[in-house]
């Protein structure tokens, strides 16, 4: 009943093209932003902030990156973690070799390096599509991991092959507590997510979707295929690169190339499949699902099953239920949680009437 758009007339194209054209949505979004910027740091403890919410945000950012490439431009990729690794190692090397640069510039340049690498590995996309392209990006994943493991220069010849993020300073402030790291991550993710949303509703986003939906008519309209696909690879890898840098600096602190292995790529791919392919919101929902659900199951299991079942049986049960839920959601809505959310909102607009 509260969610009605009656009486809200759009009198300009600008208003019609707003991200949230309905007033109730705008209020909700501002409330959400206030909550995550003010209430969460005040209420959540260091464990939640540092070990759950911060990595969740970073993975959301990587999922946005992959969603740009796979969801919007239709180019299947398994190189996500590889591009994250490029960002992580680029930020580290920039930081220790050019210490004059401010941290945010390091992060942005790390994204730019990842974008360049991504565009190189995107070159085959002009000739190969679908699963075959996925295999080509798989090569990127293995190659990048191999380079960072075997070329000592990238890890500054650290004997263990592990890099430790140097202390972070922004405008003279030192960032070392969980709350500060969370706020830094949140700010970067919020700004980049808004940028992604803006791009996908502009000319470049339309050209990506055009290439995804029908490449021949896209080209006939004037969309050059190669540069459009490369722009998707570049911008997608930029997002993954920044996510990799944040993963190192704000979450793990010390990182080895194995932190960005193929499993991470798959994890991010599952996030966008469950969250919603071709949806920025879906990137967040998918990351939330994959990160939070196992924790929830774990807590529920601990509550009910304590003492009745053996610990290893419990652990297996959790995996079974987690897998079952993934299949359940994919059957209920193959287009992901974002579509479920959209359907729910459409229903809510009419509620309590059926139509």
């Amino acid at each position: 009943m509260l969610y009605r758009e009656a009486g809200q007339f759009k009198t300009s194209y600008q208003k019609d093209q707003a991200i949230f054209p309905i007033r109730q949505d705008r209020i909700a979004v501002w409330a959400l932003l206030l909550a995550v910027f003010i209430a969460v740091p005040l209420l959540a403890d260091d464990y939640w902030l540092g070990s759950i919410i911060t990595p969740l945000l970073v993975l959301s950012l990587a999922a946005i990156g992959l969603n740009i490439l796979t969801g919007y431009a239709g180019q299947l990729s398994l190189g996500t973690a590889g591009f994250m690794a490029v960002g992580a190692f680029a930020a580290y090397n920039l930081n220790i070799r050019v210490p004059e640069l401010p941290l945010i510039v390091d992060f942005l340049l790390a994204g730019v390096f990842a974008a360049m690498v991504g565009m190189v590995f995107g070159l085959p996309s002009l000739r190969i599509k679908g699963f075959y392209l996925a295999v080509a990006t798989l090569a990127a994943q293995f190659f990048i991991e191999w380079v960072f493991t075997h070329v000592g220069w990238f890890t500054n010849y650290s004997s263990s092959g592990v890099i430790s993020a140097p202390p972070m300073h922004i405008l003279g402030m030192t960032i070392d507590t969980a709350v500060e790291k969370y706020l830094l991550t949140l700010s970067v993710v919020a700004v980049l997510a808004l940028g992604a949303k803006n791009m996908v509703r502009s000319r470049i986003g339309r050209s990506w979707m055009a290439v995804r939906d029908k490449d021949i008519s896209a080209e006939v309209i004037g969309v050059p295929l190669l540069s459009t696909k490369l722009s998707a690879f570049g911008i997608s890898s930029f997002y993954c690169g920044v996510a990799g840098a944040l993963w190192t600096y704000c979450y793990l602190g010390t990182v080895e190339p194995a932190a960005f292995d193929l499993n991470r790529s798959f994890q991010v791919l599952f996030m966008i499949i469950i969250g919603g392919v071709g949806s920025i919101l879906g990137s967040f929902l998918g990351a939330g699902f994959i990160v939070l659900l196992p924790i929830l199951l774990n807590n529920i299991a601990a509550m009910i099953g304590h003492g009745t079942l053996q610990a290893d049986t419990m652990a297996n049960l959790e995996h079974i239920i987690f897998g079952g839920l993934i299949i359940f959601f994919l059957i209920v809505e193959p287009h992901g949680l974002a579509r479920l959310w959209q359907i729910a909102k459409e229903k809510l607009r009419l509620w309590p009437f059926p139509y």
Partner: protein, 262 residues
């Protein structure tokens, strides 16, 4: 009708086009002229090479022999996105819309070559980029208004019935404000009413914007009614070219369509 429009000079000249795929000769030595502001129809039995001809004109296929001269520029091989910049737009025989996008987004994509801001401005969606989006939205709204599809502008095209999808595809081509519009069977699979609507749109486009139109169509009634000139292809060769009445009376054309007694 033809009194109002000035059919001008030749805008597009195809010279001795030959195109083959492996051993199959799709087109053999075809020369066709298209004059400014006219409606020209290409007809012929199935497999005559009509669609191949359109694909050569807008650069999807590159002929082995012959040249295409458009507005004084001669070429043999040019990419479709380059011909789009020169002002050639087209629709497809099988609908080739962007299924996951709304009607409005499909039509906005037609403005691609006219928009200039780079992706950094687009990421901001502010200032010059916002202004540009709104300017082009206005052009698209005029197209939407012209085609009378206001009520479905936010609908994903996959949900629309066939006739409307065809109309949206025409809208996407029109949004590019082309000088030369290639229509590949714009009325295939439509009922009489939809065909009449589509004819009216084609004639209005030609009349109001002066767009030169080359269309492929199987409905002879439509072809004879709306075109200024008709070219007939059969087995990749041009067998006739002229005003509709003349072509209708041509013995080769009658033979091609009805068969010859041996």
């Amino acid at each position: 009708m033809s009194g109002k429009r000035n059919i001008g000079d030749v805008i597009l000249r195809c010279d001795n086009i030959s195109l083959s795929f492996g051993g199959v000769r799709a087109l053999t030595n075809i020369s066709v002229d298209v004059r400014e502001h006219e409606v020209m129809a290409i007809i012929g039995p199935n497999g005559a090479g009509k669609s191949s001809m359109l694909n050569v004109i807008n650069g999807v296929y590159h002929p082995q022999e012959g040249t295409v001269t458009y507005r004084g520029q001669t070429r043999r091989a040019m990419k479709p996105h380059e011909t789009a910049r020169q002002g050639i737009a087209r629709t497809f025989q099988n609908i080739a819309l962007f299924k996951g996008m709304s009607v409005l987004d499909n039509i906005m994509t037609g403005r691609y070559t006219k928009m200039k801001r780079n992706f950094l401005w687009q990421a901001l969606y502010w200032g010059p980029n916002l202004k540009e989006e709104i300017e082009h939205r206005e052009v698209c709204e005029r197209v939407i208004d012209f085609l009378q599809i206001e009520n479905i502008r936010k609908t994903p095209v996959g949900r629309l019935p066939y006739g409307l999808q065809k109309r949206v595809e025409l809208g996407r081509a029109l949004a590019a404000e082309p000088d030369l519009l290639l229509l590949d069977e714009p009325m295939a699979g439509m009922n009489v009413e939809e065909k009449e609507d589509m004819c009216r749109f084609i004639l209005d486009v030609n009349d109001e914007f002066g767009t030169t139109i080359v269309l492929i169509e199987h409905d002879m009634g439509v072809v004879m009614d709306i075109s200024d000139r008709v070219a007939v292809l059969d087995y990749g060769k041009k067998i006739a070219d002229g005003p509709p009445e003349e072509v209708r009376a041509n013995q080769d054309v009658i033979d091609a369509y009805l068969g010859v007694a041996h």
